[in-house]
């Protein structure tokens, strides 16, 4: 027989599951305080994610950019850099894809990859700029990425407005069909949900990210720089180049996320008064996923499902969607503080023992 109690207390693999459970319980508690029925709410949430092929497809659509931005943040983290700038890089990725998608005409097998590359490149440069500023002048990347987020928003708005705007609209022309990365057959399968090639690329990106970091020499360099730049320099690694490179690649990940949003989901870009927020969510995803590519994918799944499902919860059970932020926040809280769960489990175990004795 499996010793469940030991498994729960000892095994670290159980901690994330318990954390999710605790987060959901806390969410239920908050709902009860507000006079809502948590069971009703959660069943609506669940149904909104898995209830129909369409919803499931849209959940995937929601998850996709989160994987990209999560990877972006996690990758930089591995090199010892805190990339708050995935948001801006994501926006630049959108813009790059829009530029290529709208202005260029080419057969699809050239156009779509080129548009993706355009987004990835622009975003990579945007991220790399923060890396360069750090490498060259030692400017803290937290400041520069915060600043670059705003600049990305405005620069994109300018590009959209000045070069790509459809008259009388507040968005670009639609991108050419040849640049789209939507997948008709898959979309069909999911009741016209906007699933697109992005999800496969996101999973591929996670695999590549893993392989790069742990299976290549450059990845070893990056991690060494992240853990101990002095030792890395001593061992002959170029710390400055690695810092720039890490931010560039981080930017590429975020940028791909942004590019796929344009090429796969919207097919146009709007003049936006605020950036979409997926980059900031990427920070939470990365942290929730322990800055590991596999963790990022799982965290993005959780995060994306919860936030997509929240609409069903509002619709069906009238629970304000803010509850989802509370749930996600508390899940991260519990994941980050396994001590709390162990402590609670300890209390639980002790109580049990006492009862057994009595």
């Amino acid at each position: 027989m499996i010793d469940w109690k030991r498994w729960f207390i000892k095994d670290n693999a159980a901690i994330p599951l318990l954390a999710i459970l605790s987060g959901l319980l806390f969410g239920a508690f908050v709902m009860l305080l507000g006079g809502f029925n948590p069971i009703d709410a959660y069943s609506h949430l669940f149904r909104n994610v898995f209830g129909s092929p369409y919803d499931f497809g849209e959940t995937i659509r929601q998850v996709t950019p989160l994987i990209f931005t999560g990877l972006s943040v996690a990758f930089a983290f591995r090199a010892g850099l805190f990339n708050i700038g995935a948001e801006g890089q994501f926006v630049m990725g959108m813009t790059g894809a829009s530029i290529v998608g709208v202005l260029l005409e080419a057969p699809w097998y050239i156009h779509a990859p080129l548009a993706l590359a355009g987004g990835a490149l622009l975003a990579g440069l945007w991220g790399g700029l923060a890396g360069f500023l750090k490498a060259r002048w030692g400017i803290n990347e937290v400041i520069t990425t915060i600043m670059l987020n705003w600049m990305a928003l405005y620069l994109s708005n300018y590009i959209v407005r000045a070069f790509l705007l459809e008259p009388k609209q507040q968005r670009t022309y639609l991108i050419h069909d040849s640049a789209k990365t939507s997948m008709a057959w898959l979309s069909e399968l999911f009741g016209s949900a906007r699933v697109h090639w992005g999800i496969f690329f996101a999973l591929l990106a996670a695999v590549l990210c893993y392989a790069f970091l742990w299976k290549t020499g450059q990845g070893l360099e990056l991690r060494a720089v992240g853990h101990n730049p002095h030792a890395a320099q001593y061992a002959g690694m170029n710390v400055k180049r690695n810092v720039t490179k890490a931010m560039f690649i981080g930017g590429v990940f975020a940028g791909l996320g942004g590019a796929f949003e344009i090429l796969g989901v919207f097919h146009y870009q709007v003049i936006a008064s605020a950036s979409p927020g997926l980059g900031f969510d990427g920070i939470a995803v990365a942290l929730l996923g322990g800055n590991h590519p596999l963790g990022v994918v799982l965290a993005a799944l959780l995060f994306g499902s919860l936030s997509y499902g929240s609409a069903g919860m509002s619709f069906g059970a009238d629970v304000p969607p803010e509850i989802i932020r509370i749930i996600i926040g508390s899940v991260i809280f519990f994941v980050a503080s396994p001590g709390i769960i162990r402590w609670a489990m300890g209390l639980f175990a002790r109580n049990r023992k006492r009862k057994e004795v009595a």
Partner: protein
């Protein structure tokens, strides 16, 4: 003479997950004595002292202070009981001044504010009373390691400690500083303090201790009075076998030059030249030792040679190739190995596994990299071989470097640097903080390199080490080589004088500045 036990630890047992670090240890400290504790790296000495100081709680056992049972559950209690500890790794706040570090926690006040004037006055008083001679207004990051240690001592005295614990105080000191420290200890004992001293250096024990307790693998092996023992007996008790410090150094005729340094100038941290026109040569089959007091340009010299710091002018040639201001990797590939002074900062990525650390310099070379990917099979094989060959004690090669003891960390670095077959090996403080067993081993490895016809450049503050390993000794002072000698033509006293003759001026300068 009737002496009372000021500290009496009985049956102290401390377990960490998986190991028993202290196993029923008995230890007593008499009023007014210096009691040395000796043991291999990882024997459990620091742990025992941390228990006495309230940082850890023992699982079993009892502590009596001045005869009264004491429950020491945090450092505060220890301090109240009059225990002061100078830790193995200093507990000093680098950007703070000496006075600030000393008064921290019990600050003299005026109203809501700290009275710095009062603080400085008290520090000066104490410093004078014990002959410590520190400048209260200097910043920790600007003063020498020896001075920092005095600050640690002052911290305990300021809190009124009469039981002082020194955990490996001399590992980081220069010979002069060690002498001064021993003087300070004597003065402390004269003024009624009792001292527990952890050290790996048998010479110091013979010089100052009254009694010695030897610990091996968490157990007390023996307790002897200094008068009734000798260094080789102590070493044998500690390691469990006889240790020979004699080195097998066949005379070799030095060959072609390996390293040539010409009029090298390197700037130091403050921008003034720390290395000021140094020239020397290291040949095949010789160990060149650089002797000097800490802070005379040794670190900057090595950093410039290894590509970690920019040379302002001059030239460095390795195997005839100009490597002045070349990148560390290029230098390494030209044929240089480097055992760095600070193993935690430069030598290892502590969060990496041992196998990755073993490949830290060569991961992008042939057997480890295939089709652009790391070949972990090859990396593992390599690491495994090194671990066996160099006797690095670790659970396995997947263990984090952080989890190794200092001695084994050092062995791992040496293994990595020697294995790549460098024409020149630069060894900076290669045995700092290690036990005699480990030192013996590392010394053998270094001499082995020389015997194989390679060049070795050795930098050490440990004169014994310099004298026993080197074929030639260069004396460095104020960024310049001020003399050269041979071990057989000198002794540590003379060498010490030649390096330190100028040290007096330096100190005078400092006190003027202060």
């Amino acid at each position: 003479m009737q002496q009372t036990k000021v500290v009496d630890m009985r049956g102290i047992t401390k377990r960490f997950p998986g190991i028993t670090v202290n196993d029923g240890i008995d230890l007593s400290l008499l009023q007014g004595e210096v009691h040395a504790i000796l043991g291999e790296n990882g024997a459990g000495k620091s742990t025992l002292m941390n228990i006495l100081f309230g940082l850890y709680q023992p699982d079993e056992g009892e502590i009596r202070i001045h005869g009264k049972p004491a429950l020491i559950d945090n450092p505060n209690t220890a301090i109240r009981l009059g225990i002061g500890m100078v830790h193995q790794h200093f507990k000093l706040v680098q950007p703070f001044t000496v006075a600030e570090n000393i008064i921290l926690g019990s600050e003299p006040r005026r109203g809501f504010s700290i009275s710095y004037r009062e603080a400085v006055r008290r520090v000066e008083d104490l410093s004078r009373q014990y002959g410590l001679n520190v400048d209260p207004n200097a910043r920790i990051e600007e003063i020498s390691v020896g001075m920092q240690q005095r600050v640690e001592i002052l911290k305990t005295l300021y809190r009124g400690a009469d039981i002082l614990v020194f955990d490996e105080p001399t590992a980081v000191l220069t010979p002069d500083e060690i002498e001064e420290l021993l003087d300070i200890m004597r003065s402390l004992v004269r003024q009624g303090k009792s001292i527990l001293l952890i050290t790996h250096k048998l010479k110091e024990i013979m010089e100052i201790a009254d009694r010695v307790t030897v610990i091996r693998r968490g157990k007390v092996i023996g307790n002897v009075a200094k008068a009734e023992t000798n260094p080789s007996q102590l070493a044998e008790m500690m390691v469990g076998r006889s240790v020979s410090m004699a080195i097998d150094k066949k005379p070799i005729e030095p060959g072609k030059p390996v390293l040539q340094v010409e009029r090298l100038v390197v700037k130091g941290r403050e921008g003034a030249p720390a290395v000021n026109g140094i020239s020397f040569t290291v040949r095949e089959g010789e160990v060149v030792g650089i002797a000097g007091v800490d802070g005379n340009g040794q670190s900057e010299l090595i950093q410039a040679l290894t590509g970690l710091r920019k040379a302002e002018s001059g030239e460095v040639r390795l195997m005839g190739a100009d490597i002045t201001n070349a990148a560390p990797r290029a230098i390494s590939e030209t044929g240089m190995g480097h055992i760095p002074e600070d193993r935690h900062k430069h030598g290892l990525v502590l969060d990496f596994s041992l196998r990755e650390n073993m490949a830290l310099r060569t991961y992008d070379k042939k057997p480890f990299k295939r089709y652009g990917l790391l070949d972990y099979a090859a990396i593992d094989k390599h690491a495994q071989e090194l671990v066996e060959q160099f006797d690095v004690r670790c659970p396995d090669i997947y263990t984090q470097a952080r989890a190794l003891s200092g001695g084994n960390q050092q062995k791992a670095i040496i293994a990595r640097e020697i294995e790549k077959g460098p024409e020149l090996l630069i060894a900076a403080q290669p045995t700092r903080g290690l036990d005699v067993g480990a030192i013996e081993y590392i010394h053998r490895r270094i001499v082995e390199q020389r015997n194989k016809g390679k060049g070795v450049l050795l930098v050490s503050y440990e004169l014994d080490e310099i004298l026993s390993l080197s074929d030639r000794v260069l004396i460095i002072f104020d960024g310049q080589i001020i003399g050269e000698t041979r071990p057989e033509e000198t002794n540590d006293r003379e060498l010490g004088l030649r390096m330190a003759g100028s040290r007096l001026d330096k100190d005078a300068e400092r006190s003027h500045a202060g």
